[in-house]
Symmetry: C2
Subunit: 348 residues, 2 copies
């Protein structure tokens, strides 16, 4: 994992050096291809590598089996065999999609993750979770496939649309709230600088989030226990995204999900009132939503929450820390959530 301003150029040098003779397939959406992808693939070729740029239309709705099939058809036409390396250059959608493409191409070829969005840098690129969405099943088809390396260049964040940048901050808040009280304090103290995309600050924060995530993932690669704390906010967020018809960004849904799940926990005496206040204030300071937007029907959220894929034997589970920066102790950080009784009243 390399974090820094200018690490994109370092990635090119490293790929050229370590994968001479192999086919490097760079996957980007059309927007990122225009901003970085073409230049990146050209740099690889100038360095002497065999490289191809494969693009797909931008948008969360393109994280589908159909997009993956089209990329696979391209790989066949390019004669890509087992010696292919996939380079995922882009945001969370690209990382999930290209990661899954690599996971199943000839039963698994390496993937290099080069996240260009804040969300992908702090959360999606590391951890090996890859997937596509199905109608009625977010991330329903996918694989665990750890990246060979991750390169996070905070300079890429300059071109990120404001709404996407803020959405990425929600995952930063989640990581801090779940696992790192010091980081949470830093975010509170430097909220304004963070909104301005201060690059020195971003380097520090991205590196910290990746270090935390790396530690949690290493302890639980298949997401069978302790790693679930990283799902703080996500049980409700997935339902919110679905209920919004994916008009809410993932990060926006996570921001609201953090608050709602913390409220459920507080109502049970399992999360401090004071920490709930801090959480809400920080999200507001970072320009993030903290309650259900008017356009989303509470009934849809409830219905979708009950269909969550983390259902085991019909019971939805959610993961809230004991307090800011301190996960619950024990092997399983999750708790059962009764959607009708616990969540529905908070949405009314």
């Amino acid at each position: 994992v390399v974090v820094g301003s200018g690490s994109l150029a370092l990635a090119v040098r490293s790929l050229v050096r370590t994968h001479a003779g192999r086919l490097l397939v760079v996957v980007s959406d059309a927007r990122v291809a225009r901003l970085y992808g073409r230049r990146f693939a050209e740099s690889l070729a100038r360095g002497g590598a065999r490289s191809r740029l494969l693009t797909f239309p931008a948008g969360e709705r393109r994280k589908t089996r159909e997009t993956k099939s089209r990329l696979e058809d391209r790989l066949v036409r390019e004669g890509a065999g087992r010696d292919t390396i996939v380079v995922a250059l882009g945001g969370g959608v690209t990382g999930d999609l290209a990661g899954f493409l690599a996971a199943t191409w000839h039963r698994g070829v390496p993937v290099v993750q080069i996240p260009t969005s804040l969300l992908a840098m702090v959360d999606a690129a590391l951890g090996g979770k890859t997937a596509v969405d199905l109608p009625g099943g977010k991330n329903a088809v996918g694989a665990f496939h750890q990246p060979e390396s991750v390169w996070a260049d905070v300079r890429c964040l300059r071109t990120l649309p404001d709404r996407d940048y803020r959405a990425g901050l929600a995952e930063v808040v989640k990581t801090a709230a779940a696992l790192d009280a010091t980081l949470f304090g830093l975010l509170e103290a430097r909220a304004a600088a963070l909104r301005r995309r201060d690059e020195r600050l971003l380097e520090r924060i991205v590196a910290r989030c990746l270090a935390i995530k790396g530690r949690v993932v290493a302890a639980d690669e298949r997401d069978s226990g302790p790693r679930a704390i990283l799902n703080f906010g996500h049980t409700v967020a997935h339902a919110l995204e679905g209920a919004s018809g994916f008009r809410l960004r993932h990060g926006e849904a996570v921001a609201i999900g953090l608050v709602l799940e913390a409220r459920v926990a507080r109502a049970r005496g399992a999360f401090p009132e004071r920490d709930l206040g801090r959480l809400e204030r920080l999200l507001v300071a970072l320009g993030l939503p903290t309650s259900l937007p008017r356009a989303i029907a509470a009934g849809d959220v409830v219905r979708l929450a009950r269909r969550d894929k983390k259902t085991r034997g019909g019971v939805v589970r959610y993961a809230v820390p004991a307090r800011i920066g301190r996960p619950r102790t024990g092997p399983d950080p999750t708790e059962p959530l009764d959607v009708e009784r616990d969540l529905a009243p908070l949405l009314a």
Copy 2:
């Protein structure tokens, strides 16, 4: 791994006992569903399990992304979550397809392999290789996904069409020729009984093949070295299948591939003339082809062999044992094969 007459009934009991409360999804093609699938799913239900039978049209050409997508859409409609167990009940196509379905459903749920064809029993069901075919890329998309258990009931072989039964014998011959001289001797001595589908003999042979394969796979789960010996005959076989427009059965192509690859090795002094003769005679005794059928153009085979997915840096590799039952020593049992120089003359 359980082998025996009547192990289908044992599988039902075991599944009901160990997976109470979880959704058991039985996947079969239409033919096997009619013969065994419906009864099997009903037995599960009678035992108190939640079970569903998912079917797809029979045929090698159905091992596609499209078939997998249709099965996934069914899983969504059935509300299948992470607690799903996939049961692959059928031949090699079903094992590959349902195994891959399980490998990627919610990033991996368990699969139970219940092979009903000889090929699936002795080769496909164990080893964790799962895949679908692409136009121009056999097994191009797939995953390694080890089965939770394998149940081989040789009684199911009674209903297997003769051509499929013989095709399965080719993988038995491959396993013996590559790794077990004693088994090879048994096949030679009991060829006639084997053609008659003697069940006691079949139990013994299937159990032996599964034991050998289990040992090889355990030593090399990801197929990165020693396991390649199980590809004996397959480099050429894949090209033959493609060149025949998949009119050749996989096993028929393997039979021809065994002979052609052994001939290439013999021409290099790397396989004994006497063993080549034994190999050819055994295949003939078992009703299997040993040379290129007239309907297949040699040029197509050569062209497809050069595009083999086991290409590394453009060189095709093949794996022939040093002699019957004795793999080559060293970490890599494969050798480079120059398609134009080594293979093309043998096809003329």
